[in-house]
Amino acid sequence: MKGSILNIIVCGTGGRGVQHLSKLIRLLALRKGFGCEGASFKGGAQRMGTVYSELRIFDTDKFELISSHIPMGEVHVIIGLEPWEALRFSGRCSQDAKVIVNTDIESLFIERFMDETLSNPIEMLASIFKNPILKNYNDIALDTTDARRSVNVLILEDAITEGALPFTLEELKKVY
């Protein structure tokens, strides 16, 4: 882990499983003996609003207490369950941040009321991050025979395989 604190943002929209995915990461971290601080924000909307978690995984031997705030420019990993939401946190990322994003777009719901022309968030993610993992995990989940491998699990598998998270696929299997 970078500097012994790994800062992660898990983001998406209401109903996409941000809280569940965050919980899986917390479980993985705590089972492995790391500390985990963080905060979750889910707004007031039942669905379709911005939802995100800040997670900070750290070595408890080195840190007695850390805050739940991720420093500006020090997000090391974004796991995005929606591309617009992943893009929203770009300004908080370190230059070598790893980005794993489900490309299934949830409409911002702004386009039907305003004349604003919105860019394609997937293209923007591809242009500003180095080697982002951009896949439609919904489609992959539909093709997967193991029903337990939901979008959340599939995206976590990729994050682990890419070295973005300090866990193994075997450790992941034990928590879902």
Partner: protein, 602 residues
Amino acid sequence: MMHRETALVNANQAISWGAMSAGVNFMSHYPGSPVNFIEPSLKSLDARFNTSIKFNDSLNEHVAALSAAGASFCGARTLCVMKHVGLNIAADPFNYLGYTGVNGGMVIVVGTDPGANSSTGEEDVHWYVPQFNFPLLEPTTIQECYDFTRDAFSLSEKYEIPVLLFVPGRLAYNVSKVEVEVEFQHEQREFYFHKDDERYINVGRRAVANHKKLVQKIDAIGQDEKWIKRRFNSEATIGIITRGLAYSMVYECVEELQLQNKIHLLNLDLVYPINTQILKEFTAGKSDIIFIEDQDGFMENQVKMTCFNDLKCRVRGKDLFPSYGELSRECIIEFLRDEFDIQKNSIQSIPEISVPERLGSFCEGCPHTGSFFAIDTVMKELDGIIGGDIGCSSLPPFRADWLLCMNAGIGISQGMAQVLKSQPIISTGGDGSFFHGGALSLMSAVQNNINLIHMVFDNSTVAMTGHQESPTTNEFDHHSFLKAIGVDKVIDVSPYNPMDFIEKFKSELGHSGVRVFWVKGACVLAGNEFIEDRRERLYPEIDSSKCGDCTKCYEDLACPAIINLSEHSASLDLKIDLERCVRCGVCHEICPNGAITIHETQ
């Protein structure tokens, strides 16, 4: 020896575990983020450990406060939970509970929201604390949420005074490992109300005498109780004082900048009353004291007030850190760098991309979708005013003309209705806000002979905060109720039949008196029979050859299941996303061109 285990819990759950461990007998609450999961968590623990806790799912915070007081007067250990804006509603009774004191320990948990992440405001409710004269504890971690809740019950019973616990949103939904007790011997208490007119008939000389006792209690707590943490170098001439989450932020920043030898850090867990002796000891020999806390600077203000003559050093706080929004870590780092002449690191970050804020919207099939289509259709033509209220009905922020506090719909509207001459006005609100206080406002409109249409969106639940029960969840005879309070006319409408809604609404506009439109349609996320009946049977389709691009379904109804597949923003190619559509059929009802057909599934 107590058996303890490690639980992975959020702060809401940690508080319920703490209350369970302290032997709580009674819980009252009014649901509100970020403390809306304490009640279901405690109910679950109650079922698991068979502890027979009594619950009062109060209709507002005023009732929650008073019912908790009643149980405590009889000797029950009592937990009372609400969000920060709810404390405004409960403030009246809390102003008296210090005077009467309590018998069973009474702990009041208040969810605060610096940054207004799930609220209409970020009001700093610390200012109520010296007015109530209740001790206030502020945890930094989830473990402390558990520990402080247990300790707060003991503190409350020791001094016979309610104890406050403030939990900010950033902490409330965080999850961490917590050491909890899992075997309890709940003390068997005989509940009995011992009459004592010196305490409970709080008027005249008794009120003054009780006030004096309260002040003495608070003075004693301020001298006896030492809820603090001290860190780093006690010889340092610069001292920082924190509370709550600011403690962990400052702690981390000091370590990051390696200032451990140059700073002495004091965190006050007991934020009120201030232990002046500790403050005097801490400030002695310091050249500078800096208060770092979120919101308005309550702690700084208290210390300056209570230790004014003893502070011989330079004191700073809110002149350095803003009182709005969440306390920023960057702000603390920047201050420390300036103070200790530490060069800034150049951070190489990714450029920030401005992504538009997501507007709130109703869920697919939500009854409010059809309701607001009908309301907008009528009111747009008249340039009418739509009073909005707290709840799911106000999620799309542009549908009503204001969004402030509970009952602001009917409350503000009736004042407007009394002074406006030509502008039409209606008020709206859900059944949750109706029972919270809206019904009283309605009675006030009747009492004052105000001409007003009020729309109650009865979705059979308190949807926004987690689908808690409302009086409408079971059978509720709204006709009898509204008739009894003097409403002139009650009109039942269905949100799934917007054209009928529009017709009835238009026909009421020229009439006088207090009229209530009761809009019945259950929340689609909590079991809506109308939707469930249609979901498997039907599917809608837009015939693009008939579509006149009027945008009634896309912009006015604004159902999220209706999407525009056109690649050019200026043109429309509307389709219904059948994955999202729940088959409510409202789009079919409102289409003026007959372009939306409902088919039977083969």
